[in-house]
Symmetry: C2
Subunit: 419 residues, 2 copies
């Protein structure tokens, strides 16, 4: 069957970023073999029973009955303010005393990152990112014509020595300092690593010394079910250099598509202008009522139990099924862990076989970024994160039984692949 | 009282677009005197009773009860598909046979325009816009570092002779052809003008001849309560050069923040990638149910009556109150009309006086764009649209009684200003 050719008659009118993407550059592939019967460890979806459906129905009724004309109008009404209160209270609980002027509510965390990228980046500006890191964030930054430089991380998060070495090397070469460092300090996507307190201090010192801002994507920080949290970077930051990105996608539901930014007043106005275009006051009002009615904390506590059970089931299955030479991270929260399979495995190449055996995952190499290139590095910056033989496994979506089946299938595929 | 200075310690890290805006360039000011008792003819807000609140409550209950786990998950479920069906059916009713692959649902029309700008524009690329046109669209394009060139319009919409002259002049000067023409063909914001059928044909011919794409922002096209619609540009376009932008902000409610793009398959994939980042499947499912339950058409018919009554009230008041030397457009739909006050009026300068008399509006000159400059032209490209003595008046939001009071106040302010 012949593949239909792309219709390229308007390609000359695309922006250069798009033309480069069409030429094979760019990030963001999450293509996976179609395998309906396979256990999907691929995506970071919450498990279906986690959603507070009844609470959202009740909140919708209340807000539309009490202030429907405001809820549905540009700008919203009182319940949008209640959402601001709720988000600022959550930030306060994390040790961050932000004001209303420092909070920007957005249509999700990805839009938040996009608005931040637009506010700071001219085409060709350099952004430092963890390597590996969340592929869709790479795609967003790449779409804004940023040049991306990967900095290694390990089980303690972003490596400040590697960060300093990169900054030094750029300085020695007379290159401009990157304006932004994009990091996921808590339960990092894809590795599950959390940045240690000592490393947080080093990263903040480097930001001051080399004059860059830190974009801290905190999608998972509230989902800690074991151990102790170091303070968020923003709580340790006296200089206003940390821009926090939050989302309720993992603590309420992805479908309500609401995120936020907390940034110093010297930054917030301009980021807010770039994030303009109106937000969904209907959803925001529903969420405002949801916070106001006290649903957030009990739901979160329920989710922590659900995710801990799933994390435990996956760790247990890995221990029982995987062949010698395998290793994995043991995150105390979040959605993901990072597995490194025995020498000789190419996780991308093995994926179709794994799907046949009954499991899908995201191959690790898709999360890596090269040294300033638009193409992901085929190999990691160093070997601590496994490179080609690594994969991201999501424990957030499946039942414990499915997780066990999935890991057993991963073990069978690995053994078959290595034969 | 001393004004507090902006905290500028991170200004050197902003993108050049932001720095230029801080230096006083840029578009998008909708600042208006605080005047709580004044009749607000300023903003294009729907009137509060227009919102189908009960229908939205019912739709929310249904979708969360029937498929809550899908509605709240990434991607959504069946009711998101029903929204696609509903939007494609509306497009079909307008004469546009789009496929599912040609439809991109977005978090509102402004995001849609932003995604289109990102897909096609490199910094410094030229965009042709009507002058005057919607200020926030100017701000979006400006934020993407586009250079804007204004093309005159009159009561029959965009002037194709002026468009051709601009294109010819650029070609003669050896300048690149603009990639995009941004137009609001139906009940234009701010003038209320609708592009005639003959002019539509000319504009499409020019797009083919000079190789540009047309972004047709159709926020108001369904809100016609008199006369006959010419076919939308996309319905007359055999070449795939028209990218349509739609929104339910004016036909359902702004608060649900849902828009869409219809574009040729040769364009839609790449625009969709730039619009990525997830959409609000909760809201989209509610709207999907709203369409599926048949609420759209009856609500629209009710709105047409409401807006016609308001338009009539404003026209009647203008006739009775405004001094000789005033003129105004008489749109057969939409939210706005465009008034030109007697010689000697400067509508921007008069605004505080008008607010004191009891009315606010948006001064006309804010909608004008200069010849490729980032600053609005102080004068229109030609004098057919009134320039400094013009204003946009919104009849969408107020009651007929308020509209009468507002126009009476405008008349008093004008007379006082000219004394």
């Amino acid at each position: 069957m012949a593949e239909q050719a792309r219709d390229d008659r308007f390609d000359h009118l695309f922006a250069s970023t798009v033309r480069e993407r069409l030429d094979g550059g760019g990030y963001g592939s999450s293509a996976s073999p179609a395998a309906e019967d396979a256990v999907p460890l691929t995506y970071g979806f919450p498990y279906p029973e986690s959603f507070p459906t009844a609470e959202l129905v009740a909140a919708t009724e209340t807000v539309l009955e009490e202030e429907g004309a405001d809820v549905l109008q540009y700008g919203g009404g009182e319940y949008v303010e209640r959402l601001h209160d709720g988000l600022l209270a959550r930030e306060h609980d994390r040790g961050i005393d932000a004001t209303r002027d420092e909070l920007i509510v957005t249509n999700g965390a990805t839009y938040a990152l996009d608005a931040i990228a637009s506010t700071f980046l001219d085409p060709g500006d350099e952004v430092l990112v963890e390597s590996p890191t969340f592929v869709w964030s790479l795609a967003v930054l790449d779409n804004r014509s940023a040049e991306l430089t990967g900095v290694t991380l390990d089980e303690d998060g972003l490596d400040p020595d590697a960060l300093e070495a990169t900054l030094d090397a750029r300085e020695a070469a007379g290159e401009a300092t990157p304006k932004l460092l994009y990091t996921i300090p808590e339960f990092q996507n894809p590795t599950g690593a959390t940045l240690t307190r000592e490393r947080r201090e080093r990263v903040l010192e480097l930001a001051a010394e080399y004059d860059f801002l830190i974009v801290a994507d905190d999608a998972y920080g509230e989902l800690r079910f074991g151990g102790e949290s170091p303070p968020p970077l923003a709580a340790m930051d006296d200089a206003g250099r940390v821009i926090r990105v939050g989302t309720v996608s993992k603590t309420i539901a992805p479908g309500v598509r609401t995120g936020w930014i907390v940034a110093d007043e010297a930054l917030a106005d301009q980021i807010g202008t770039m994030a303009a275009g109106g937000t969904n006051t209907f959803t925001q009002s529903v969420l405002g009522r949801y916070f106001d009615a006290g649903h957030y904390q009990p739901t979160l506590e329920r989710l922590l139990e659900g995710y801990e059970t799933r994390r435990d089931a996956m760790l247990d299955a890995l221990e029982r099924h995987l062949p010698p030479g395998s290793s994995w991270t043991e995150p105390e929260g979040g959605f993901f862990l990072w597995v490194t399979l025995p020498e000789g495995v190419d996780a991308e190449d093995m994926l179709p076989l794994a799907a046949e055996e009954g499991v899908t995952y995201l191959p690790g190499e898709r999360f890596f970024v090269g040294d300033g290139g638009r193409q992901p590095a085929a190999e990691p910056v160093d070997d601590r994160t496994g490179g080609k033989r690594s994969a991201r496994l999501s424990f957030s979506h499946c039942t414990p039984e499915e997780l066990d089946d999935g890991i057993a299938a991963l073990a069978r595929a690995t053994e078959a692949y290595l034969e």
